[in-house]
């Protein structure tokens, strides 16, 4: 056990937790923020993507000790009114089906737009290529990313 501190969605959190615990389970089980999802436990599917200082990370394979002192953004912190441009685009394109992977899809898209405000299809494939969706919402995700880019989603 160790005392760790990280900022989650702008709020400072102090935790007494084994630093080897993956960030995913700290978010879900310790902080009771269940928006970030468990999909594979090996960084292969992207359902658990959150932002650490603006960079997308796979929280299921990131020991919480590694993000000590960092600023974490999860799906819950994107906006309090679902009006982040990426969320608005997701709603307008009716992207989600089962919805389970969508937190990871949305956070990956947010990270992409921060880095590349107007991504090409190839850049979308590159950045989103290992964020898996079993329902096949991919074309809607692509359209929503372009739409969010037009709305200044990278700002």
């Amino acid at each position: 056990m160790a005392s760790l501190s990280l900022t989650v969605n702008g709020e400072k959190k102090t935790l007494d937790v084994d630093p080897d615990t993956p960030l995913l389970w700290v978010l879900r089980d310790h902080l009771e923020m269940t928006g970030t999802k468990f999909g594979c436990g090996r960084g292969l599917c992207g359902s658990c993507v959150v932002l650490s200082d603006d960079a997308p990370i796979r929280s299921c394979i990131t020991p919480v000790g590694l993000v000590n002192g960092k600023s974490i953004l999860t799906i819950e912190g994107l906006s309090s009114t679902r009006d982040h441009p990426v969320q608005k685009a997701w709603i307008s394109e009716e992207v989600p089906q089962c919805g389970y992977c969508q937190s990871g899809q949305i956070m990956s898209a947010v990270a992409l737009l921060k880095r590349v405000p107007h991504p090409t299809d190839a850049e979308i494939n590159q950045a989103m290529g290992d964020v898996l969706c079993r329902c096949g919402t991919y074309q809607r995700i692509r359209r929503a990313i372009h739409q969010a880019a037009e709305a200044g989603g990278g700002q």
Partner: protein
Amino acid sequence: MTLPMTRRGFIVITAGVGTGLVLGAYAYRTGWLKRLFSKSDPAADFSPATWIRIGKDGSVTITVAKSEMGQGIRTALPMIVAEELDADWASVRVEQALADVKYGSMSTGGSTSVRTSWEKLRKAGAAARAMLLTAAAQRWNVPPSECRTEYGTVVHSPTGRILQYGELAEEAASFPVPQNPPLKNPAEFRIIGRRIPRTDTPDKVDGHAAFGIDSRVEGMFFASVARCPVFGGTVASYDDSKARTMPGVYRIVQIDRGIAVAAKTTWQSFEARDALTVKWNDGPSASLTSRDISTMLATFATKEGAVAETRGDVEHALSGAAKRLSATFEVPFLAHATMEPMNCTAHVRKDSCEIWVPTQNAQAVQRTAAALTGLPLEQVIVHTTLLGGGFGRRSETDFVEEAVQTSRAIGAPVQVVWTREDDLQHDFYRPVSLHKLSAGLDAGGRPVAFTHRVVAPSIGAQNAPDRYTNGLDRGSVEGATEMPYDIPNVLIDYVMAQTPVPIGYWRSVFPSQTVFALESFIDELAHAAGADAFEFRRSMMDSSPKMKRVLELAADKAGWGTPPPRGKFRGIAFSPPAFFHTPVAQVAEVSVGRDGAIRVHRVVSAIDCGIAVNPTGVEAQMESGIAYGMTAALKGKITIDRGRVVQSNFDDYPLLTIGEMPAIETHIVPSTDPPTGTGEPGLPAVAPAIANAVFAATGKRLRTLPLSL
């Protein structure tokens, strides 16, 4: 527990503003409905009471008794009720039903939800509407014939007076429920057929959507179960001395399916499970391999099959044919791989059991828990959460048994969570199968004889062997029987080939394999006849005009007969209505790289699903079926070695990615017929359409899935 708390909060608010036409579970407890219907009364099925609650504030709460697994059922079913109720869609709220026999079957699968709910939900809405209209007429003291309903109000046409439903609800509730209320003519629909946004989208973009794995109950533990990796194996002995000392571990107990480790957090339960030392009795399947199973299928293919369908004299017609062809196709086991791993949260107490679970069959969960605990059915409360994918996997109850037994053993609420490895290695798999087809063409290239032998394990016989003593499971030949083509001499037969590998319902079930074989082989026949693949099919569909129209629409929209873009090749395939009652035709546009990589650029579909309740929903289901079918066509394969599954995670069981997703165009045949299924019919034709395009590109006929050059 996020979802039920939200719901409870809502109920409190509703009760606060007063409930008028108080119906459903509520009314059941408050009593008036009890007077109208007993539980066994079949009329309860279409009573408005079961489905609709109208608040004095005008809110219309519609109960959904099917599971939302991505197919948009929490939107489509309320649309049907709201249409006949003449509700204002903006005032509609949706509530998930607790498991209860009063809803009729809550099983969500087989593309049945809209099709089988259609009439009873329309009647429920129409009956409530009639009661509200009568209440207004009485209040105004005018004949009901002078009144009409619109957007949640009753209007007195001659005077223009208006009453809101909320103002009438209490009076309306006291009237008898009309048993055969008039239903709208489809031309009058103003909600059905519209692109209504899904009710569940907003919660799915901000992390609030509560899936089973997000269930949180006061005092709960998380559990991980060690299961025998070999099918049919059992625990011989185990040593938990190390695991017991690990942080967070609460209890370690043996249950029917293995050893359950309950800990304070999910991660701690995973870690402690890994620290267990378990000795397994592997049982009789310890040396089973995929090769053994393939060999068995090939051997069984020479046996005499149980006849599933026959007409004419195949043998005679074959011997007289100008040209004879035959081919063998084979497909592997597949896992469902829902993105949300299996999980179930259960709290077993002495006199009750409460369960929160992503399930496709809440009533089966209720029955399972009742049987395990010995509690009466009504003391088992089952909350159906959102499902992070279902595809048939969540029609099973194995994960429910684990949670109920663990909770009971440790005396506390527990959430059993599976890892991805657990999920891929302990599934109820899409069966393997082998297909032997033969056909004879006459001198003009027309098929005169056609045989299709399906050699496959039977899901039905696995679950209820006594019911299939004659060797025929019609489910296993679905998609092979009732071909849409007019061929005079036909023989479809089946050889049952059981294996120790658990099998189950996987999106579109047997048509996912029979249609691959059938539609690939039809393509072979077209080439052998020197005919165009579309015209060849079309010329045999005169007695199925509805299906022919679907085929023609897909070909037309795909530009069949015009040259494809440079480097791309087209394949066409047709998926018969089967148990989903919905014909689909698809044209795939494919290119093949120098390295043999198959790339699908575009899939054009035509579908006749009767009335499209929500066209956006139908399109989304087609996109989803195609993506699911493409993973099976290009990647999916579960292999067995030493009695266990080889694959373990998404690195060796890869799924389709965004860069591989083709452009998809869906064309819906306009219709006023009752709606049919859309969840599965988008899938079966994908693999053969791609395989047929690959043949057009390379001249190579691929007869094994996944397709590989």
